[in-house]
Every structure is written in C-alpha cells, then in structure tokens.
C-alpha cells in the first residue's frame, strides 16, 4: 500500500509490523521522529504486546534492549551521532553477547563542533563493533531493511544497524510502499532466541573469558559475519518474492558493465550519483556506480566482481578517517588489491554539506582525466582554510576555528549549499 509519508514514519510503521516487544527511546536528532511515532503506536494500542521504555540516556537505551533481548524479547532502539558514541560500550557488548537487537541510525555528524546534520561518521565509528551494518539508499529501502534486519539478526544471533541518512531520508516525504501485517507475519517468524534468561532453565550469560578462549570468541563473531555474507543476498531474494521489491542485498551496481570509471558510495547519495552518471553517459563518458548496502560484513568478493572492468574507482565517503582519508576506500582497496587500479577517495557531504549533481559531474570528469588527488575533499572552501592556517601561523591563540570560518563566510543558514 502506497503512502506519501516521511521516511521516519515509514520506518516506524514498518518496525511496528515486525511486532517488537521492547522499544527503548532516547531523543536525538534526526532519529527522534521514529521513536516518537512508535511511542504513539504503543500508547494508542495500535502496537500491542510491546513495552515502550523512555530511558535516561542512549547508554541506558541499548542496555535496556540488551536485557530485553537476553530475556527473549524482540528488541529495538534508534539513535544517531553523539548518542551512538555514548552507547558505544553497550554496542560492543550487545554483539559480544550475540543479542539480535535491531537499531536504526539516523546518520549524523559527530562534534565538536556540534553539528546536527548528516554524514556517516557515527556509523563508521562503530563499524568494527561486531554489528551488521546495512545502509539504505532510499526511504523505501530503509523501511524494507528493518524487516530483513530482524530476520537476519535473529537467524544469526547478531545485532543489526540499519543506517539511513539523517534529514535527507529521515525527514524526507516520499512515496512509500508499506508492507502489510500479513506479509510481515508470513515472512518474519517469531523470535526464537539462541540463549535466553529463563528461571526454568538457568544459564549464566556474559562470563568473563580469558586469553584461553577470547580469541576464539572473537573469531566466531567474525565467522558469524561471514555467514551473514551468504544470508543477506538470500534474504533479499526471498524478500522480493513476498514483497515484490528489490531491497537490501550486499550491493547494487549501476551501469558498471564495461565502465572505465566506477563510483562507490553508501546510502542516499547514490541517487544523485546515478543522476550524474546518466548525464555523463549521455555525454559518452564510460562510468557506472555501486551502492553498497552491506558495509559490515563487507562484501569483498562482490565488490571485486563489480569492479572487474573498472579502470579506476572513485570512492565517495560521507566520513573522514582523519590522518588517512577514507574508510570505505580502504575496504575497496582490499577488495581489489590483487589488481592495480587507481582508487580515489573523495570526502563529501560532511556535517550536512549538500552534495550536488553539478559538483559530482565535475568531480567525475576530473577523475576520468585522473586529475584527482588520491584523497579529495569535495566543495571545500579553500579560501577559508588558507585564511585560518595563515592566522594560526601568525598568532598562537588564533581562536576557535569554526567561529573564525563562519566569520569569513558570513551567515550560512540562508544559503543553499
């Protein structure tokens, strides 16, 4: 059933269809609308058999989810940015304990400077926490991925993060085909825990493990993600059979066959990239793109295959590995290390900076001429930077960078990009 609704609402309604039993909520932009909507559904009784817990922090939120999941309840929470960092300890704990929690990340930058807008720094900070990380390209996919996430998580006993771009997706009104309760019930079996806190059959969960077994435990976590590599495409296909939509999977290619230049990216920016690709191809440029849905586990083999024909790869990242460049790019390098290919890292869209088709097309043209730095920053205001650097060399106490740059640029908020 189609609806023109906000992405957050679509996710909330889909999560509700998955019959979660415990939902933990702590407000943080831009994820807030999701839990608000779910809270309303629980209160109104629309979502029955579910406990909605208003916690005192993100750390508390995931902790409540951990307890609920260990007690055999299907558990869900959502967060973003600072919130994800504040729950970091629990993030590792949930995966370490193998608890199939599903968490939505409304991707947002991390301060300081404090910034509420979109980029991928938050999810990236937790990429090695042992969670499966799925990136949504559209709000339709964001909604669909949650259904798949619960099934995947519970099959493997491993938590899953569904990452959707903050504001760009969470706050966007789109035409969404919402699943029906019958479809979801038929596709997502009730939660059958691998381990459960049950007085009738007591176990001790969360033992202290020393050098004698810790490495094995970690390997098994890795192995679990390797199994996810097999399950994700299967589930995506099965999902299509029931719901008639292509959502999820490890990655999606766009005109990569025979393309000399291939762009790789995560999330919603792929839409704009495809627009750019179309226009460039119309100009006869040999270019295609790959949208990676499963960032963890990272589909090395599929990426390698998709890049078989590429002469060069442009990895567009909404996060920065300070002091290195790109994280996704590093992973892509690993996928194709056997072949000598140029891999350009492009850092774009940090802290909500709009990524425009115009900039992209210009960027890709440069790439085609191999005129790119190996690490390129898209639409960076070099004047502001040069001025600040000059200030710093001149005066030791040159003041807070962000404020200085704002002074240089003047009031930004009314500007478009």
């Amino acid at each position: 059933m189609f609806k023109q609704i906000e992405g957050s609402r679509a996710v909330a309604e889909t999560v509700a269809l998955c019959r979660p039993q415990v939902i933990c909520a702590y407000p943080i932009t831009p994820q807030t609308h999701i839990v608000e909507a779910l809270g309303e559904m629980v209160k109104s009784g629309e979502l029955a058999g579910c406990e909605f817990v208003n916690v005192e922090s993100e750390f508390g939120a995931l902790s409540v989810a951990i307890g609920a999941s260990a007690a055999g309840a299907r558990s869900y929470t959502a967060t973003a940015s600072q919130g994800l960092l504040f729950m970091a300890e629990a993030v590792y704990n949930a995966s370490g304990l193998g608890l199939p929690i599903v968490m939505t990340i409304g991707n947002r930058a991390i301060g300081a400077p404090i910034n509420i807008w979109n980029d991928h720094s938050d999810s990236m900070s937790m990429r090695d926490a042992g969670w499966i990380q799925l990136f949504a390209e559209t709000n339709q996919e964001a909604a669909d991925l949650h259904i798949q996430a619960f099934r995947l998580a519970e099959e493997l006993s491993c938590p899953v993060m569904v990452c959707m771009d903050g504001f760009i997706l969470t706050h966007a009104y789109d035409r969404i085909d919402l699943a029906t309760q019958e479809q979801v019930d038929g596709w997502l079996p009730p939660y059958e825990p691998q381990q459960v806190l049950d007085p009738a059959d007591p176990v001790s969960i969360g033992a202290m493990v020393g050098p004698d077994a810790f490495a094995e435990v970690r390997y098994l976590a890795h192995h679990k993600q390797l199994r996810a590599l097999e399950r994700i495409p299967v589930l995506s296909r099965e999902f299509f059979k029931t719901f008639g939509r292509n959502s999820g999977g490890l990655l999606r290619t766009y005109h990569t066959d025979g393309a000399e230049t291939v762009v790789v990216a995560l999330g919603s920016v792929n839409g704009t990239i495809q627009e750019a690709v179309d226009e460039l191809r119309a100009d006869g440029v040999s270019i295609g793109s790959i949208s990676i849905c499963s960032y963890r586990p990272f589909p090395l083999a599929d990426v390698q295959a998709a890049l078989a024909d590429a002469k060069r790869v442009v990895v567009l990242e909404k996060s920065l590995a300070v002091g290195l460049g790109g994280m996704l790019a590093t992973d892509v390098q690993m996928a194709i290390q056997s072949r000598q290919r140029r891999v350009y890292t492009v850092i774009a869209g940090l802290g909500g900076r709009a990524i425009t088709k115009v900039s992209l097309m210009d960027l890709f043209r440069q790439a085609r001429r191999d005129a790119l730095e190996s690490v390129t920053f898209l639409d960076l205001n070099w004047d502001a930077i040069t001025r600040q650097l000059a200030r710093e060399t001149a005066v030791r106490r040159s003041g807070p960078i962000a404020e200085n740059i704002l002074k240089d640029l003047g009031e930004l908020s009314s500007r478009i990009a």
Partner: protein, 540 residues
C-alpha cells in the same frame, strides 16, 4: 539451539574448582565442657538435660538428669548450685536458674509418677550403710547395674541429714519420701533402726560382696562454755531432730544460736517458727567469712533473724550470755579483743559442726581414719578391699550434692570392683570458658525469680519458703542456657559460610565441613555462638 561459546555457561560448573586447596587453617567441630557440668559435685550433665527441657521434652530431660542423680526434686531445693556460680550466662545477664528447672523436673516426675528401672540381676549383694543422700545415690546406681542392694539405716526413717538436718520449710517431707520411695521401688531394701555395730561381722555373716559406707556425721561438736546449772544449752542437730520427731524443745522467746554454718541458720529459722520472738546468731567472724550459703542468710534476714558478727560466747547463766568482741587479723582469723558485753537470752543452741561416729569400724582391718574421717582412694575405696565410703564421713565438703556425687562415683567403682575391673570415667573436655562464646546471638533474657512465701507466714509455719516454677517459666529458664561448648544446631556455621562448604546432616546429626571447598576463612568458628568450632593449622 547451541549456546554461544564461552560467554554462556551452564549452572553448577564451578563445582569443578576445589577451593579447599587455598586453606591454611581448617575448622573442626569440638565439644567443650560446660562450666555448669564442670562445677556440679554430683557430676550432672546439666546442659544435657536442659537441652531436652528446652524443647519441652521433660521426660527425656528427667531421664537424662537421673543418669547421675536420683533425687532431682530434693536437689532442686537443697543444692547450693555451684553450677549457677559457674554459669557463663552470669557474665551476660544472670546465670540460668538451673536448680529451679531441676526442681521443676523433679516435681514433674513425682506428679506423673515416672519410675526407675533396675538393671538385669548380677547376683551380687552390696551393703549400703546409711540412707542419706550418698547412700541412696549409691544404692540407686548399684541397682541400675543389677546388683542387689540392702541399706542398713540406724535411724527411724530414711533420708539421713535430708530428714534430720534440713527443716521442712526447705525440703517438704512428701518430696523426700517420694524420691526415696522411687528408689526402694527399684528393689532396694532399706532396714530402718538397724545399727551396724560391727561391720566386719555383718559382712562376713551376711555375705556381702561389697560395702558402701555412708553414715554421715551426726555427732555434734561442742565448745566449752562455763555455764550455770540453769543455763539452757542444746545442740542444733538435737533440736532439728526433735522437731522432725514432732517433739519440739522449749527454747523460750529469746534464742541464741552459736555458729555460722548452714545448720546454724536452719536452727535459727526453725526456732523462729517455734515461736521465738528474738533469734540471734552469734558468729566469731563476719558475714563474708560465714560458711553458710548467702541465699539462706538472705532469707533468714527477711524472716527477722538477727546476727552478731565477730563475737564469741564466753559465759552463760540462765538468762544472760557474756560475749567477747573479736577482730580479724591479717590472715582473716578472729582474735580476742578483751571487750565484753552481755546479751539476754532464754536458750543457746550450738551449731558448731558435726563429727563422724566411727565406733562400728574399729574391727575393719586396713581401714584408715584421719582427722576423724575415713580415708578413701580416688576410687572411693577405703583401705579395706571391697569397702567403699562417701558422704560426710569422708574428707570433702559436706553437702547433699557432694554426697550424691560420692554415691554415684562409689557405685561405679563398686560395680567395676565386683567385675574385678577398674572404672575409668570419660576423659574431660577442655572447659568452655566465656571467651570461647560469641554471645551476640543470644537474646537478652533476665533470670526468672522464684516466688517466695510471704514473711508473715514464714514466721509461724513450716510451709515451703521457696516456690517452684510453672512450666512456662521453667521452659524459659531452660532456654536461657547458652549450650556452652557444645553444638546445639543453630545453623550459624551452615549459614555464614561464604563458600557453601558446610553440610547439614539433619536434626540431631549436627554438621560436617566440605573440605573440598572450605577456604578456611574461619568465619564459622568466629560466629559459632557456643564455641564448638576450632581452627587448626593445616599441615603444609
């Protein structure tokens, strides 16, 4: 579904970790000697019978009591209870009122008609001379061994000093008769008015395999007091005896009693009851030095008996007595001061102690007499094989309780002697001193005071002065026992072990340590209320 590796564990798995190996000290359960038992001249297992009394099982308590003493109703009245002097509870609040519980059990037994059962006959004949406490005690014990016992009693009634020395108001005769009857009911025969003038002959003619001598001490000590013919001077025992015989002597209104022992008090209080308006006890030393038991002095004072300390009687006329003041020297002995005074009085009763009549023993060879008493070995045997002696006629404190103890001890040795064996009592445990206890666990419970007959009636009648306890407060008193030195299954060790290393074996079976897991922290020993756990070093 397969549980996650390592992070999820099945219950009970830690039992594989034997923490007992950490131990440097190990706890062990011990039994220590409670001070009450330690102090009891009759060798009663007081804590033992209190244990049963606590749970209201009076029959078992009584049975346990009479193992060592066949006269609980009497003992509960006349014993000066050294057990209570030793009781650790005295250091907490007041000692357990042991004698009152003992008396309760004795009276209960009489009320319910509980009986003794004699042992299977051995065919041996034992003569007991004297039916006082030691004689009765010995006869009873011997009968339990199955020996045939014959008691020869010189007096007109059984009981010895219990009857002719202790006044009714302290020991009602029906109680005395009942407990003697219970012994004769076992088959012990008492021949009254039967004076043994020649023991050797009796033994030989009547073929006794052994003899126990318990004739007591009945010959009053005398002091030389120059006196006019009209002066009325009697001895205490004669007075008490005639009162018992129902022919009280005429003592007049003002009676002086000379002496400081229990007999002096008995006779003074008796005189009061016979109508004396003024009764004065004259004693050469002070109250502290007075041998009489304090409770009796207290009761006497309540009854209006007066005392003249540090005084000796020098001269007597028909109505006056000259008294010399004394002072105690540094050794505590009274020394004359040369100061005199005159006291008016109608009669003087001498209570200066008693001697033993040893005439009937003259022809028993080997028998040794020292300081007017018969010398006995540690096994209560005189110099003559097969002849044992106890009670007031042997060197010891002269109390009913000591006598009962002698009787028991002698009987056990006689039994061994008859089997040409030697009796060895159980080895005594280490004393359970107060510092071995953890008294926090005992709730505060002050002693129950026994009701007393009001003073008015005491002056005129021979009704029993001290009343007994009813069941409730007897139970309460029994439960005040701290069970010093012996496990009473309070479960403290079982509960306070942080390692669940104590096994509870069930009611009456106590506990065991599970040394596989006991780390030897010693908390069980520290928290054992009664000091029944000891920490001993591990041999490493």
């Amino acid at each position: 579904m397969e549980k996650p590796f390592a992070i999820t564990l099945d219950v009970g798995s830690s039992l594989a970790n034997h923490t007992g190996s950490w131990r440097t000290e190990r706890p062990v359960y011990v039994d220590r000697l409670p001070p009450c038992n330690h102090a009891c001249p009759a060798g009663e297992n007081i804590q033992g019978w209190l244990y049963y009394a606590e749970s209201g099982d009076y029959l078992r308590a009584w049975k346990s009591l009479v193992e060592n003493n066949p006269l609980p109703a009497i003992m509960g009245r006349v014993c000066y209870h050294p057990c209570e002097t030793g009781c650790n509870r005295a250091q907490l609040d007041q000692p357990v009122n042991i004698h009152a519980v003992e008396r309760f059990l004795g009276d209960e037994a009489i009320r319910r008609g509980w009986q003794f059962t004699p042992g299977t006959p051995t065919g041996k004949r034992v003569l007991v001379v004297g039916s006082g406490p030691s004689g009765l005690s010995a006869a009873y014990q011997l009968a339990r061994f199955g020996h045939q016992v014959i008691i020869y009693e010189a007096g007109p009634a059984a009981g010895g000093m219990m009857r002719f020395g202790i006044p009714k108001y302290r020991l009602p005769r029906e109680v005395l008769d009942a407990e003697i009857a219970r012994i004769t009911d076992m088959g012990v025969s008492i021949h009254l008015n039967t004076h043994v003038d020649d023991l050797a002959r009796v033994m030989q003619e009547e073929k006794f395999d052994a003899v126990f001598l318990a004739v007591g001490a009945h010959v009053a000590k005398r002091a030389y007091i120059p006196a006019g013919d009209a002066a009325k001077i009697l001895d205490a025992l004669a007075v008490l005896r005639s009162v018992e015989a129902g022919e009280p002597p005429l003592l007049g209104r003002r009676v002086l009693v000379y002496g400081g022992g229990n007999t002096a008090l008995d006779v003074a209080r008796t005189a009061k009851r016979l109508g004396a308006t003024e009764t004065l006890i004259v004693y050469r030393r002070n109250r502290e030095k007075m041998p009489a038991h304090d409770s009796e002095v207290q009761e006497a004072l309540e009854e209006g008996i007066q005392f003249k300390w540090l005084s000796t009687i020098k001269k007597a006329t028909d109505t006056t007595f000259t008294v010399e003041k004394m002072r105690l020297d540094e050794k505590g002995f009274p020394q004359p001061t040369g100061e005199f005074e005159t006291i008016e009085g109608d009669s003087l009763v001498l209570a200066l102690g008693q001697d033993v009549d040893l005439s009937f023993l003259e022809r028993v060879d080997g028998l040794e007499i020292v300081d007017g008493v018969v010398k006995v070995s540690a096994r209560m045997m005189t110099g003559h094989a097969g002849v044992f002696a106890g009670g007031d006629m042997v060197p010891a404190e002269r109390t009913v309780t000591v006598a009962v103890g002698h009787g028991k001890k002698a009987a056990r040795n006689i039994d061994a002697y008859l089997r040409s064996d030697v009796y060895n009592g159980p080895t005594k445990h280490e004393l359970a001193a107060f510092d071995k206890l953890n008294t926090w666990y005992y709730s505060d419970a002050p002693l129950t005071v026994q009701p007393l007959l009001d003073a008015a009636r005491r002056e005129s009648t021979f009704d029993e002065v001290v009343k007994g306890l009813d069941e409730n407060n007897a139970l309460f008193e029994a439960r005040r026992c701290l069970s010093c030195g012996n496990c009473f299954e309070c479960d403290n060790c079982y509960g306070v072990c942080p390692d669940n290393a104590v096994l509870k074996l069930g009611a009456g079976k106590r506990f065991e340590f599970n040394y596989d897991y006991c780390k030897g922290c010693g908390m069980c020993a520290a928290e054992c209320p009664c000091g029944a756990i000891e920490m001993v070093p591990e041999t490493i």
